[in-house]
């Protein structure tokens, strides 16, 4: 009752004064907006609580703000109104937007230095942090939950269908899918987050550029080039494989997960972070292995790129408070916290010590396959094509790519036409972004 009274009456009374007078207290609160619902949200809360217990000057307050886009937009809207949190979790496609907002974003590396917090960048895995660095190597945001697409397979189904070896190439995928369908399964494979898996990662994996200017890392003048013959040929294959149900499309995000966990599709390509869900739902032996590749395009696959989200620090708070933010970042990337987070969630550990610690703890021995993601990410030294992507307005562009891919799956467009249209529509948004943000 009291709190209701406070909420109702105080604002009205304060409206006359209109000064955001917070009650001064000994503990400085650090606001952290995140997009981790469900069990992962509980883990986020635990990290914050554990950090708060380690010291008494700062209190990290995590707030769940909806899905990735809702969290990002809420933070941006809050920034415009000067009510923003210290830390916001932004998914990887928002990177270019955040990065371009130079007055709003406090680069993590710079913040750590300003706050006098020791920061050794060399312990972070190159494949993880390369996505979030400026061209001169400054780290902009702190990787938090990183994952990469892997090939999930239903071991029992493959055995039953007589597939002796988990497919490593796309031709093998096709053969295995044919056997699965012949053995009575509804489909061979499906996938989610299709733009990320089948365009962005597909390109990196085959070491071909998705756009000019080193995938946008060098400048905002970038143009898309994922309407190349390799991608088109791949789309053509997928479209063809819908016949006979070698491939069935099941939605943009993780919507197709039940197809895999219910044993309808024998294979599924999506984030390694679905480990927890699959483990609790699948009633069969499953495993994960590296994504397939086309041997006629590349002899050996390059490396995959990450997805997931990083923590961005927003400007406009007192220096004192950034000390707390810096301390929290250090805590967050400590080997113990990272190893725990990695083993619990299926996200990739962001530092080498955390990886080593997980090895030492015997995690990969008792859970074979769980290091697939990290192996795949660090398979080779990233090239300009496989370091990551940095395109402005990419949230919208990803929607466009999704739309065009759906048009291909439904047969409304040919693969060539779909990819050409996606590039054309995407370029318009890139130009718009360049104009609004380019320096």
């Amino acid at each position: 009752m009291m709190s209701i009274f406070k909420k109702l009456v105080l604002p009205a009374a304060l409206a006359a004064f209109m000064s955001g007078t917070g009650v001064a207290s000994a503990v400085t609160e650090i606001q952290w907006w995140h997009a981790m619902g469900g069990t992962n949200g509980e883990r986020v809360n635990k990290i914050a609580e554990d950090f708060n217990a380690t010291q008494s000057d700062f209190k990290v307050v995590p707030t769940f703000k909806g899905n990735y886009t809702e969290t990002m937009t809420a933070a941006i809207a809050a920034f415009r109104a000067k009510k923003h949190p210290h830390i916001v979790q932004v998914f990887e496609v928002g990177t270019a937007t955040m990065m371009a907002a130079k007055g709003a974003v406090y680069p993590v590396e710079q913040m750590m230095n300003d706050a006098g917090e020791p920061f050794d960048k060399s312990v972070y895995l190159p494949a993880v942090i390369s996505y979030y660095q400026t061209s001169d190597g400054q780290l902009l945001s702190m990787p938090f939950n990183s994952s990469t697409p892997v090939l999930w397979y239903n071991k029992d189904a493959l055995d039953k269908a007589g597939v002796a070896k988990v497919p490593e190439t796309w031709p093998e995928m096709k053969a295995a899918s044919e056997k699965l369908v012949a053995a009575g399964y509804k489909c061979g494979f499906s996938f989610g987050w299709q733009s990320w898996v089948m365009v962005e990662n597909f390109s990196a994996w085959h070491n071909i550029p998705m756009g000019t200017e080193e995938n946008g890392f060098k400048s905002t003048k970038t143009d898309f080039e994922f309407n190349n013959d390799t991608v088109k040929a791949h789309m053509k294959n997928l479209q063809d494989w819908q016949k006979g149900n070698l491939f069935i499309y099941g939605g943009r995000r993780g919507d197709s997960l039940p197809m895999f966990t219910n044993g309808e599709c024998g294979m599924w390509m999506n984030s390694s972070a679905y480990y927890g869900s699959i483990k609790s739902q699948a009633k069969f032996n499953f495993g994960q292995s590296m994504m397939p590749y086309y041997p006629n395009v590349i002899d050996k696959p390059q490396n995959s790129i990450i997805g997931g989200a990083t923590l961005w620090v927003l400007r406009g708070k007192p220096d004192e408070e950034y000390k707390g933010v810096a301390k929290f970042m250090t805590y967050l990337s400590s080997p113990e916290v990272q190893a725990w987070w990695h083993q619990e969630t299926g996200y990739v550990p962001i530092t080498t010590p955390a990886y080593e610690l997980s090895k030492k703890q015997g995690f990969y021995d008792s859970n074979p396959g769980t290091d697939t993601a990290i192996k795949q990410l660090s398979l080779n030294t990233p090239t300009p094509n496989s370091r990551g992507i940095r395109f402005g307005n990419f949230v919208q562009i990803r929607d466009i790519i999704n739309e065009e891919m759906e048009a291909i799956w439904s047969g409304a467009k040919t693969p060539a036409q779909g990819m050409d249209d996606a590039v054309k529509r995407g370029d318009v948004l890139l130009r718009k972004f360049e104009e609004a943000n380019g320096s």
Binding site: P11, A81, P258
Partner: protein
């Protein structure tokens, strides 16, 4: 009935029951989903009969909420929803009655100007102007308050429009009689207009309560303290946990709980609601 045709009447009943069944099917499925453990809800085929986990799920939804959301149970969110819906309904009815009264019963400068200013706000949903509205609310320091949750949603003319229609149908003699009795404008308003619009107020209350209760995007944007979350917004958030399968059992239980108050309002106020609506519009 005009003539007695028992077969036709029987047929009508059967068809009506079928119609009710079609309408109720989604709720049955919701109820069934809310009575099974979460793992069962990921396995095909889904159950069509209730399971034995209803009270477990109820306990989870009420007291814990979906894991990791905020640690807030739904019970708390329901209180917030109730306050928000009541503030919207009562607030909007109050300001609309007053302004409709002024516009219908007074001649004063800028009357038409005010009239049109109010009426351009008709129907434009808050979703399409959500970001600028957010900035206004933030600048007024109303984030994370019940005022911020409700007042921006009051800015719409539907209720004013309706009361205006109601007042126009009230015979002029009423006012003349009141004047002869020496009643001033406010006396007339309280003693004549309000009682005469009782059913319309009730109908509008139902509509606005439901409207307010069902908001979700606005609360999502302007609340960042878990103790201010509302329940419908909670449902939407549960649907989209990153890289996890939705926990359908808890979601459906929450949806079931979230539907109860507005359904009760509709059902218990249905005769007033129907009368209030159909009498003005027809």
């Amino acid at each position: 009935m005009v003539e007695n045709r028992p077969l036709l009447t029987l047929f009508s009943h059967i068809m009506l029951i079928l119609g009710v069944a079609v309408i109720a099917l989604p709720i049955w499925i919701m109820f069934v989903a809310a009575s099974h453990p979460d793992i069962r809800m990921t396995q095909v085929p889904l159950p069509i009969l209730p399971g034995g986990y209803f009270f477990e799920n109820l306990d989870i939804a009420l007291n814990r909420g979906l894991s990791g959301q905020s640690g807030q149970g739904v019970a708390h969110m329901m209180v917030n929803s109730l306050i928000m819906a009541m503030m919207i309904a009562v607030g909007k009815i109050a300001i609309s009655l007053l302004s409709a009264f002024a516009i219908v019963y007074f001649r004063f400068p800028f009357r038409m100007f005010f009239f049109w200013m109010i009426f351009v706000t008709l129907m434009l949903p808050v979703e399409v102007r959500i970001l600028p509205t957010y900035e206004v609310v933030a600048n007024l320091g109303m984030l994370d308050t019940y005022w911020g949750l409700s007042i921006p949603l009051i800015a719409s003319a539907t209720a004013t429009f309706m009361f205006r229609q109601v007042f126009l149908t009230i015979p002029d003699e009423m006012l003349e009689a009141a004047r002869i009795d020496g009643a001033g404008p406010m006396r007339f308003f309280w003693d004549i207009l309000i009682p005469m619009s009782r059913t319309n107020i009730a109908a509008l209350f139902v509509i606005l309560f439901i409207y307010g209760w069902n908001q979700y995007l606005w609360p999502l944007l302007i609340t960042s303290e878990p103790q201010m979350y509302t329940v419908v917004m909670g449902i939407k958030q549960m649907l989209e946990a990153a890289e996890q399968a939705p926990e359908w059992n808890v979601i459906m239980m929450t949806a079931l709980l979230a539907m109860l108050p507005p359904i009760c309002v509709v059902i218990f106020m249905q005769s007033l609601f129907v009368k209030g609506l159909t009498e003005t519009e027809k």
